[in-house]
């Protein structure tokens, strides 16, 4: 009888820590301060000042699950270590050497962030290129840099290096200057328009700011109405006004008039040359055909007024 009692007591002594540990691992799920016993760096604790950690907003999940609302159950991570056991990472890790697979990370974010600007994430260019949400976003920081106009572009340029080079060309949209951001034209979360543009078409995107070219005009220049990128490269060009090619050569790709503009231009056409031409200096063809985007003047059939 005494032996039975002793065995029972011994078993209870060993079982108690496990039971207590189970209770400790899950009992504080709604309180991030438990995690912050270890994770007390400002880079982590700053999450308490972000939109992701608002108990009063039931959408965030923090009221019930605390940090586990994003990082998963993480049972093994919070369990007591035995002997020389290395502490396993949480169930979902968003960065660093133990980062979870992209799909798992994105699935966590998509658990809440569906609809709105992320409505067309599935099948988008970024999603199909295995881009993780955390490649661009920092959820522990009060001010996520990618959401700020002046700090967004460098994040995009970390992958789109060609666009950084374009933004440094003589003619460019004022992205690096902080006057606009990549997301003013593009929806990085996915869009049903080519190259993830925000507008329904290329032109609708451009006309958001450049609406003086919307018209309709009495006399139209067809490539303008078809697509702005027939003549322009929006990210940056060596030529002025984001043009792909310099005038008059850009115009000569499509116009070889029987009245003029069909000759090959050279240095002889410059001031001081043997045949100086108004079709070379300053705005070249636009010295006369200045209403190149369309004219509403009854006499503007040649886009000259």
């Amino acid at each position: 009888m005494v032996l039975w009692r002793a065995l029972f007591l011994i078993g209870a002594l060993f079982a108690a820590p496990v039971a207590a540990q189970e209770e400790r691992a899950l009992g504080n799920a709604s309180d991030p301060s438990g995690c912050m016993n270890c994770h007390d760096q400002p880079a982590v604790t700053s999450v308490l000042h972000t939109a992701h950690m608002v108990k009063a907003d039931a959408r965030t999940g923090v009221a019930d699950q605390g940090c586990q609302s994003c990082h998963g159950d993480s049972r093994d991570h919070v369990a007591r270590l035995r002997g020389e056991q290395v502490r396993p990472p949480p169930s979902v890790v968003f960065s660093g050497p133990h980062a979870s697979p992209v799909e798992k990370r994105n699935e966590t974010c998509a658990g809440c962030h569906q609809g709105g600007t992320a409505m067309h994430w599935q099948g988008s260019l970024h999603q199909s290129s295995d881009i993780a949400c955390t490649n661009c976003h920092k959820s522990h920081i009060v001010q996520d840099p990618v959401l700020v106009k002046t700090t967004q572009a460098p994040i995009c340029f970390s992958c789109h290096a060609d666009k950084r080079a374009a933004a440094l060309k003589p003619s460019h949209h004022p992205v690096l200057e902080g006057r606009m951001s990549c997301s003013d034209c593009h929806n990085p979360h996915g869009s049903l328009t080519q190259t993830m543009l925000r507008g329904t078409t290329v032109n609708d995107t451009c006309l958001t700011c450049h609406d003086e070219k919307r018209g309709p005009f009495l006399w139209e220049h067809p490539p303008v109405q078809e697509q702005c990128t027939i003549c322009h490269t929006p990210h940056g060009t060596v030529q002025a006004s984001l043009l792909k090619q310099r005038t008059p050569f850009l115009c000569q790709n499509c116009h070889d008039s029987s009245t003029h503009n069909s000759q090959p231009f050279s240095g002889a056409s410059l001031p001081g040359g043997t045949s100086p031409s108004k079709q070379m200096v300053l705005r070249a063809c636009l010295n006369c055909h200045s209403a190149v985007h369309g004219s509403n003047h009854p006499s503007g059939v040649r886009l000259s007024r």
Partner: protein, 751 residues
């Protein structure tokens, strides 16, 4: 059977068990064993910074996108006031205010307040100056008004070289436009999953832009002038939307309104030339200086309405469908200007209508489906329909080409080329695409895609084009990084190229019958490249590689080629080569460094034909030219925690070196182009940035910064007098060259 543990043992157990966690705490760590008593250290979420800077030169170029453009001091004021209810307080209020002032030409401010998950409201102001050039010159008085005048001592001439009073009457123009936008939005979440959003904004654009107006015909007659166009545009936009996000269904319905208003309809520019019209036009003798002028029509006011419905539905965990439907109406109905404002020129033909009554209807539908039939395969397919239906009325217009161009008036229908129909262009676009992605290995994915683009155009040389594009992409990730390669091939063809169609449709039948030679304004073998047959090849690749835990390499390369070999004349070929490399180094956050280099070469090959004679197939009149742009971009940045938590130093440098060369290739005119080659265009900018942050206290930082920029542009289109060629009164604009220094000092307080 008696219970093996007597009650007093249970009592003992009850006394012992609670002590065991405490005992286990001793000597080994238990997560969550003891509640945290102290909260994490305070976090600064807000700051304000104030200071002063100084720039040592006037330059529209250095500040062309909202930076400082004038020499002198500039104010610096920045701040963010950001806060929310404590996370566990039971409240969800958030507030944010931000302001950024860097010189008073560039100001932005924003405020936002709300309760997270319930509602929020915000307002913003954003202002900056788009500066074009301060090197422009003009003899015209009244720049910025709708009527310009010439000085009282103006001396006219048949050519710009004869404007003997030009130099003394030139005065500088600041060509710049101020952009000022103010707006706000309200977002309400009335119930779970629903969101109502309303926004509105008003934008003013005010200033001067360079513009040109032609008075006469070419062939060595007086032609055109440069003048300053007033910009006084307003854009009002408003949007309202209702959206729902559920577990399986998401949708959004919205309405967008955009109103463009231009308070100035035209600019009246006096004709400085003294060439009068001949006898063909009654009143022609009065078509020259000092009686003559022309009206330049400015962009008309317009309005656009758009209704948009977008949605996605998760049919099953492996199947998702998406759709978007949009209908847009664009209208423009501004009163027409007269054919010519010069009443002394007899223009008996009346306008066919007082305004265009322009209407464009745009219908847009996108349907898509994505599926994952197996864990390693995903497929998607989509269809897009986009239709621009221009229903603006078509009428016959008896236009005036230019006020100093001989035209027999009154116009004789059937004999005069100056009677034209307007052509309201319409387009229809359809696209079908399909993608298949396969995980060929655990971390490797192969994607195969097909896209079919089908375009229909009204009133253009090619009524239908179709382009088929095939793409393949292989992406793999490995322990130290990732790599990808992609290739695309596209082939475009179209219906018969009817070069005469726009000409024929815009002229009367009687005229076409009377002038059979003028069936096309362009050479019949010219092919406009956006409609021409084309073969496209594109190869791309990239690698991201962790050389060491602290050193990361990114590199990408692109080769793209468009071949228009079915085009006898016009764009023949374009080619792009781009290489980008980026190196990033981080040493325990005390030292981070990045360096990048980019090379790009863009080439366009063009073939033309010297017109002017009836012969359209004389090989001696063929010519070709190659346009080549080469751009080198490089930069480096180092940020160093010189004294941890106290002193940070940053150094950055970049260079952008872009050039453009145009040369003859194997043409009959190569001799001319080679003996008188065009100079290269070159645009080089070197920029150095130095910054230092010294933390006086945990919440106070002194900041200092210095920027040096050296810029040169060599461009053969600029740098001449205001009378560069006989037929043009120009702007005198020269290319910018400068070295600029900008220093600033500020203090920042965090709270």
């Amino acid at each position: 059977m008696a219970f093996p543990v007597p009650p007093r043992w249970l009592i003992l157990l009850g006394l012992v068990l609670p002590a065991i966690p405490a005992r286990a705490q001793d000597g080994s760590f238990e997560l969550g064993a003891t509640p945290v008593v102290t909260m994490p250290p305070p976090l600064y979420t807000s700051y304000f910074e104030t200071g002063i800077g100084y720039q040592d030169i006037n330059s529209f170029h250095i500040g062309r996108y909202g930076g400082p453009i004038e020499r002198g001091p500039l104010a610096i004021f920045r701040g963010t006031f950001d806060g929310r209810d404590a996370w566990d307080s039971g409240g969800a209020r958030t507030w944010n205010a931000a302001v950024d002032v860097f010189g008073f030409d560039t100001i932005s401010a924003r405020v936002r307040y709300g309760t997270q998950g319930r509602w929020r409201a915000g307002a913003f102001y954003d202002g900056f100056t788009r500066a074009y050039t301060n090197f422009a010159r003009t003899p015209f008085n009244g720049s910025g008004d709708s009527v310009l005048t010439l000085p009282s001592n103006w001396v006219s001439s048949n050519t710009s070289a004869g404007f003997s009073a030009l130099a003394q009457n030139l005065h500088p123009l600041d060509l710049k436009v101020d952009w000022r936008t103010v707006g706000g939005d309200i977002v309400v979440n009335p119930r779970e999953g629903y969101e109502i959003r309303m926004s509105a904004s008003h934008r003013d654009r005010e200033g001067l832009r360079g513009q040109n107006l032609a008075f006469g015909h070419e062939m060595n007659t007086a032609v055109g002038v440069f003048f300053a166009q007033p910009v006084d545009y307003q854009t009002d936009q408003a949007s309202a939307s209702l959206a729902f996000t559920g577990d399986r269904l998401q949708w959004s319905a919205s309405y967008h309104l955009s109103i463009f208003t231009n308070d100035i309809t035209s600019v009246r520019v006096p004709n400085p030339y003294n060439r009068a019209l001949g006898g063909l036009w009654p009143g022609g003798a009065l078509s020259a200086f000092p009686n003559a002028f022309g009206d330049y029509g400015l962009p008309p006011s317009s309005i656009a309405h758009q209704a948009l419905l977008s949605g996605a539905y998760i049919v099953s965990p492996k199947l998702r469908v998406t759709a978007r439907v949009s209908y847009m109406v664009q209208k423009q109905d501004e009163d027409f200007l007269p054919y010519t404002a010069m009443t002394q020129l007899s223009v008996p033909e009346p306008l066919p209508r007082t305004s265009l009554d322009g209407k464009v209807y745009k219908a847009h539908v996108v349907l898509g489906v994505t599926a994952r039939p197996s864990p390693i395969v995903d497929v998607s397919a989509g269809y897009t329909f986009d239709d621009r239906d221009n229903r603006s009325p078509i009428d016959l217009y008896s236009y005036v080409a230019n006020e100093a161009q001989d035209q027999a008036r009154p116009l004789v229908p059937g004999a005069s080329r100056y009677i034209r129909y307007n052509l309201p262009h319409s387009f229809a676009f359809q696209q079908a695409k399909a993608d298949v992605g396969v995980r060929v290995a655990a971390r490797t994915r192969l994607t195969l895609s097909y896209t079919g683009d089908f375009r229909a155009r009204k009133y253009q040389q090619v009524s239908d084009t179709s382009e088929h594009t095939f793409r393949a992409k292989l992406l793999t990730t490995f322990t130290a990084g990732s790599a990808w390669v992609a290739y695309a091939y596209a082939s475009r063809s179209g219906s018969v190229y009817d070069d005469a169609l726009p000409w024929d449709l815009s002229h009367t039948e009687s005229y076409l019958n009377a002038s059979p030679f003028n069936q096309s304004i362009e050479h019949p073998l010219l092919r406009k490249f956006n409609m021409a047959d084309r073969k496209r090849n594109e190869a791309k690749g990239g690698v991201t590689f962790e050389l060491t835990p602290a050193l990361m390499l990114d590199a990408t390369g692109v080769y793209a080629e468009d071949d228009y070999k079915n085009s006898p004349l016009g764009l023949q070929r374009s080619e792009t080569v781009q290489l980008d490399g980026n190196l990033s180094y981080a040493l325990a956050k005390k030292l981070t460094a990045t360096a990048f280099y980019s090379f790009e070469r863009i080439k366009f090959d063009l073939t033309g034909y010297l017109m002017g004679t009836v012969n359209l197939s004389n090989p001696a009149q063929n010519w070709s030219a190659a346009n080549r742009d080469i751009i080198h971009t490089a930069g480096a940045k180092v940020d160093w925690d010189a004294i941890e938590q106290i002193l940070k130093v940053g150094v950055g440098y970049y260079v952008s070196d872009g050039g453009s060369r145009i040369s003859a290739i194997g043409s009959n005119f190569a001799t001319i182009m080679n003996t008188a080659p065009l100079p290269d265009v070159r645009d080089v900018t070197h920029n150095v940035n130095l910054t230092g942050d010294y933390k006086v206290r945990a919440d106070t930082t002194l900041r200092i910064g210095y920027t040096f920029q050296h810029h040169t542009t060599n461009d053969w289109q600029y740098g001449y007098s205001a009378a560069p060629v006989p037929q043009l009164l120009g702007s005198g604009i020269t290319s910018p060259r400068y070295s600029a220094h900008l220093v600033w000092l500020s203090a920042r307080y965090d709270f």
